[in-house]
């Protein structure tokens, strides 16, 4: 382990500590609306960074992130209503037991979504071109239609009674885990292979990169984190409806990645936060005009971005490398 890896872990621990303190001091999301929005932004960050692994690093286009989110969300929610609400772990207090089981639930959600990702990715990632987009889109629709028709999952009215266990600490924990994964991935063999596939798939294959294998693994990892985000969302809202996982949600995540800059994790974070807060900031406008302009603004932003600045906010740069470079070059300039 080199210094940079330790640095990453150190930042994460520091962040967790700060969030732990902050969530103890600040009002909880269920009490204050701004904190609630912060939580939503965190969940969107997980989604955006996980899609960044597939879209930004590997250059594949997935349009079904909401589908994986739904798989994870409903799996975890089912676990929550059937197990956490009914049983407790022995010998420990109730809050601790709930927390442990909640962590298991998020993991379960992630694993379920990861398995779904394997089944979707394996056939479609063998092919080049837009097939992944087509299949993931179809998959997400199938998932949604199935949920709408299964009574156990609450059908169209939604699955209610999920214990409200998601707090800012857990959201931040998973967001930073996702980010750390994406960031570390970029610097190891697997990530290098992904970057090679993004730049030129044929050349990568000629250099001996197992393109399908690497693509599928990246896709499974991305689905895993999407599932975790879905699980967190379920325990955050305490209700899940199929309407949370429409095609529009998938598009929203894609927009975050694209606006931030394809290939930039920090850009994805930036865009995720911005796109969560923007509708709230536009609320006065909506009240003033009586018209919901949110989608119009979303779509125009996306179009303008594509036409005027196709590389997104940050392109492929990362905020932390920009900062580090400045720090590293300063001493040379000083004397």
């Amino acid at each position: 382990m080199n210094a940079r890896v330790l640095q990453g872990w150190a930042w994460m621990l520091l962040g967790l500590l700060l969030v732990g303190i902050a969530s103890a001091v600040l009002p909880s999301p269920s009490e204050s609306y701004p904190m609630y929005v912060v939580g939503l932004a965190g969940i969107n960050v997980i989604l955006a960074v996980s899609l960044h692994i597939v879209n930004g690093l590997t250059g594949q286009f997935s349009l079904g992130h909401a589908g994986f989110m739904a798989v994870g969300g409903y799996t975890a929610a089912l676990f929550g209503t059937k197990v956490i609400a009914e049983y407790k772990l022995m010998y420990i207090s109730e809050p601790v037991s709930d927390t442990i089981l909640f962590f298991v639930a998020t993991l379960l959600g992630g694993v379920a979504a990861g398995i779904a990702g394997l089944f979707v990715g394996l056939p479609s990632l063998r092919l080049r071109g837009d097939y992944l987009a087509i299949v993931t889109l179809g998959f997400a629709e199938i998932i949604r239609v199935t949920i709408e028709n299964v009574e156990v999952l609450g059908a169209a009215t939604g699955l209610v009674g999920i214990p409200p266990l998601t707090n800012l600490f857990w959201i931040f924990f998973w967001a930073s885990a996702t980010l750390l994964y994406a960031k570390r991935l970029q610097e190891c063999t697997h990530g290098r292979a992904l970057l090679a596939i993004r730049e030129d798939e044929i050349a990568a294959e000629a250099m001996g990169v197992d393109t399908t294998g690497y693509k599928v693994r990246a896709f499974v990892a991305s689905s895993f984190f999407a599932g975790v985000a879905g699980a967190l969302l379920g325990y955050y809202l305490t209700i899940l409806t199929p309407k949370d996982f429409t095609f529009l949600k998938s598009v929203e995540v894609v927009v975050m990645v694209v606006l931030g800059g394809m290939g930039s994790a920090s850009g994805a974070i930036l865009a995720a936060v911005l796109l969560t807060v923007l509708p709230e900031a536009l609320r006065p406008l909506r009240e003033h005009t009586g018209v919901d302009l949110r989608m119009v603004i979303y779509a125009s932003l996306l179009l303008l971005m594509m036409l005027l600045r196709p590389r997104g906010f940050l392109g492929r740069r990362e905020i932390w490398t920009m900062l580090r470079r400045r720090r590293e070059t300063e001493p040379e300039v000083a004397p």
């Binding site: 250059g59 286009f61 056939p123 479609s124 092919l127 080049r128 071109g129 837009d130 097939y131 987009a133 087509i134 299949v135 889109l137 179809g138 998959f139 629709e141 199938i142 239609v145 199935t146 709408e148 028709n149 044929i202 050349a203 000629a206 095609f247 598009v251 894609v254 694209v258 394809m262 009586g290 018209v291 919901d292 302009l293 989608m295 119009v296 979303y298 779509a299 125009s300 996306l302 179009l303 594509m306 036409l307 196709p310």
Partner: protein
């Protein structure tokens, strides 16, 4: 047996609409390698163009009202399609394909969002006027063919024959096929690719508008989001037939329509939307290039 033939009739009339929309997807994909998500919105605008022209223009109260409104809506959408191509897709002709795809999604979202604003079409559904009487035209041994089904089938068959003539037996058609085969070489042979692409959008959009009117006739509830699901299914039809292949889109559309009608008839109607996507996944696993595809093309260095 009677039941089966009835489902067959329903499926064919539904499938011909899918085929009309799928043609637009497949032609644009052929010349640009772009999934034109905005195509579903053109279809929706086609239905609304019909709705507005029927309610605003009293001169069209006389027969042949249906044909006048159909051609008016087709012309409007042909224009819209070319405008979209000119201002959203042409500036991105030489940028990565992903950007064009995202732009297509952006255009689709924008049209939907603007359509839902109260001073345009509004979020609540409207009811398409009854342009033609809905009667049972033919009844043979328990199988009924309604006049609307007949009109849908006849109009789409006429349009598809026309398109087939255009693509395979005209100068423009051969230019289009040349561009779709290899745009650069076609350019070297003196074909103005931009013009061909614009015309392709025009033709595809006109077909989508016709589909919009036909859907409006049979399912009178029209709303700004009506294009999403139908468009996706039509796109699946295009993939099923082999994307980029004009005959494939027709066959694919009819197949999806038939399978869907059978699924609704013999299974449960609640899964009707999942059927098309199930077919899609099966196709992509077993024959990704589709029924009429050129075979999985492996790129060489």
């Amino acid at each position: 047996m009677t039941e089966f033939v009835q489902h067959l009739v329903n499926g064919l009339s539904l499938g011909s609409v899918y085929a009309l929309i799928a043609l637009g997807y497949t032609m644009v994909y052929g010349v640009l390698q772009l999934i034109n998500f905005a195509h579903a919105e053109i279809f929706m605008l086609g239905a609304f163009a019909g709705y507005y022209s029927a309610s605003w223009l009293p001169a069209f109260q006389r027969e042949p009202r249906f044909l006048v409104i159909l051609s008016l809506s087709m012309a409007t959408c042909a224009l819209l399609g070319t405008v979209i191509e000119r201002f959203a897709y042409r500036p991105l002709r030489y940028s990565p394909r992903l950007n064009a795809l995202i732009t297509a999604m952006g255009v689709s979202m924008l049209i939907q969002a603007i359509g839902q604003l109260p001073f345009f079409m509004g979020p609540s559904p409207r009811f398409f006027p009854e342009l033609l009487p809905n009667t049972t035209l033919l009844s043979l041994g328990g199988v009924g063919v309604s006049s609307l089904q007949a009109v849908t089938l006849v109009s789409s068959v006429v349009l598809m024959i026309g398109l087939h003539r255009l693509v395979f037996h005209s100068r423009f058609g051969s230019a289009m096929r040349a561009v779709s085969f290899d745009a650069r070489t076609a350019g070297l042979m003196g074909i103005d690719a931009n013009r061909v692409i614009a015309l392709t959008f025009m033709v595809g959009s006109a077909l989508a508008a016709a589909a919009g009117i036909l859907v409006g006739l049979s399912y009178p509830r029209i709303e700004p989001t009506m294009g999403v699901l139908l468009g996706l299914k039509a796109f699946v039809a295009a993939v099923l037939g082999g994307i980029g292949n004009v005959r494939g889109a027709m066959v694919g559309g009819l197949t999806i329509g038939l399978v869907e009608a059978m699924a609704v008839g013999y299974g449960s109607s609640s899964y009707r939307d999942a059927v098309a996507f199930g077919i899609l996944i099966l196709v992509l696993i077993f024959k990704p290039s589709g029924i009429f595809g050129r075979g999985a093309v492996v790129e060489k260095v």
